[in-house]
Symmetry: C2
Subunit: 312 residues, 2 copies
């Protein structure tokens, strides 16, 4: 029986869970806040792991999920948005030194993909494309039952692929990325530009309207807000067509907060995808769905990563 | 000792070679023209294979390379530009029925990639991106020492990924694909548009200038021709940046006729790639090179495919 400690370094919570290989549910889960008054986030992480560590001392591996960019081979968090003190931070090496257990790290989008493939919407598929649409956009890919990591561990950064070389600015500083169109930030940017240009809308002018507020306004019939989500859906279709041509998966799984507003963009997305695919065969039997796992997808991804690495 | 018959269905030649597993050079190679007066291309292919078939009758597998689209799992050529009579043609099934030997098929770009990885510029690399720039643009990808084929066998159609959603028409009927900018056809299209708009140039007006003629004019200092190749290089940089973000390879291998004019686009390509990559780590140790194999790359790819399938 394999025992895994899974860690999810999230935006608001640091979570730890203990899984055994033959059980779907964790033996124990513990959460603390990611951000604290005092520094030493690593010390808090160590205490969190100690709190869940099995009394018999038997742990085969620790898996960690963190927002990127990270280096999964070196086990280094290059930067992570919510813990500023971790820069080029060799987290797996430091945890291994403390706990004397193999530790494995990958980024949150890759591990959400791995979790959906192993435990969620992607079960039984061998080629999976996962795309999360929230503040930003992130991807994960399974090819022939293997997580796509790439030479430097930086593969599947799908939000940052160019769809319009002279397009709008992305959060990363580049232009025309999928994320700059089809993310909460992209939707907010479009609405702000149109309001500034004097476009009629029920939205408040002179303040930042959130993707959620724009979604509410769209549901109440505001034409600008409806259009903003439709544009996001159109470019999502162009982006996913690119990914079908590149990876040719049998399932596309959408995650992230913007999927909750999918009634506003799904039709436009489907029309755009169908228009942009170069051969109808890409769509034959293609499943397009949303994530099946909830809040514990990060923990399950960390668990799956550790199990995958132990098998190698 | 494994004996493989490798077939390359090229634009001008149908070629067959016999390889044994312990020899780099083929035992025998035979070529005929792809197109003939009489129909029955399959009959001519069968005779070609019979001509090279070892006298002892011992063949372990036949590998075939064909321009796409093809279905590698069903062994079906959906259409191929130079043999019009082959439509949804179950070529491996028909060959197996005739020769009673396992037959395997994949498209020419995938197999050129496989050949370069196994025998050419990509040896020793585990994650390879191959892109051929000729009349069109085509891709092949190796991930963790495996050829990327995808669920329907249609992966790595990298020439047909969108870089500019409202961009120029591509040969496939879509807009703004990498191929519509960075291929012989894309270069010719740009020059034709500019000449039609009255742009000064040493190129002849009112006729179709080939990519080769434009290359010659550029070498002699024609500003429009130079610009046409630089634009191709710029969009190639944007496209390859997308592929680094998606696949994160350790080597990029360029093939195809337009690489012969690379002095005209390589600087612009490198500048564009560097500008568009979202993290400098993608470029760390990245090898960017051209193909090492010559004319027999299609044969070597077919050989490598057959050897790969026999090992599974």
């Amino acid at each position: 029986m394999t025992t895994i400690i899974a860690i999810d370094i999230g935006g608001t919570q640091l979570r730890a869970a203990v899984y055994t290989h033959d059980q779907a549910e964790p033996l124990v889960v513990k959460k603390i806040k990611t951000q604290a008054e005092e520094p030493n986030a690593f010390g808090r992480l160590v205490r969190l792991i100690e709190d869940v560590f099995p009394k018999d001392g038997k742990v085969d591996a620790v898996g960690l999920s963190s927002p990127g960019p990270i280096d999964p081979y070196a086990g280094v968090i290059m930067t992570t948005p919510n813990i500023k003190e971790w820069r080029d931070f060799p987290i797996t090496e430091k945890l291994m030194a403390h706990f004397n257990v193999p530790c494995f790290l990958d980024n949150d989008a890759n591990l959400a993909c791995l979790a959906e493939w192993k435990f969620g919407a992607g079960r039984g598929h061998h080629n999976v494309l996962y795309f999360t649409i929230s503040t930003g956009g992130g991807g994960g890919v399974i090819i022939n039952d293997q997580l796509l990591q790439g030479h430097h561990g930086l593969a599947a950064e799908l939000g940052h692929t160019t769809l319009q070389a002279d397009g709008p600015l992305c959060g990363c500083g580049q232009r025309g990325h999928l994320e700059s169109f089809s993310s909460g930030t992209g939707i907010e940017r479009y609405v702000a530009e149109q309001l500034a240009a004097g476009r009629a809308s029920s939205l408040e002018r002179g303040k930042k309207n959130s993707a959620r507020e724009i979604s509410s306004a769209a549901t109440e019939g505001d034409a600008l807000s409806i259009e903003a989500y439709q544009i996001a859906g159109k470019y999502l279709g162009i982006g996913i067509a690119n990914f079908l041509h590149a990876f040719d998966p049998s399932i596309v799984i959408f995650g992230g907060g913007v999927t909750q507003s999918r009634a506003l963009w799904l039709d436009t997305f489907h029309a755009s995808l169908k228009e942009r695919v170069i051969h109808p065969k890409y769509l034959e039997g293609l499943v397009i769905t949303t994530v099946a796992l909830g809040d514990d997808s990060g923990l399950l991804g960390s668990r799956a990563l550790a199990e995958m690495k132990l098998q190698k």
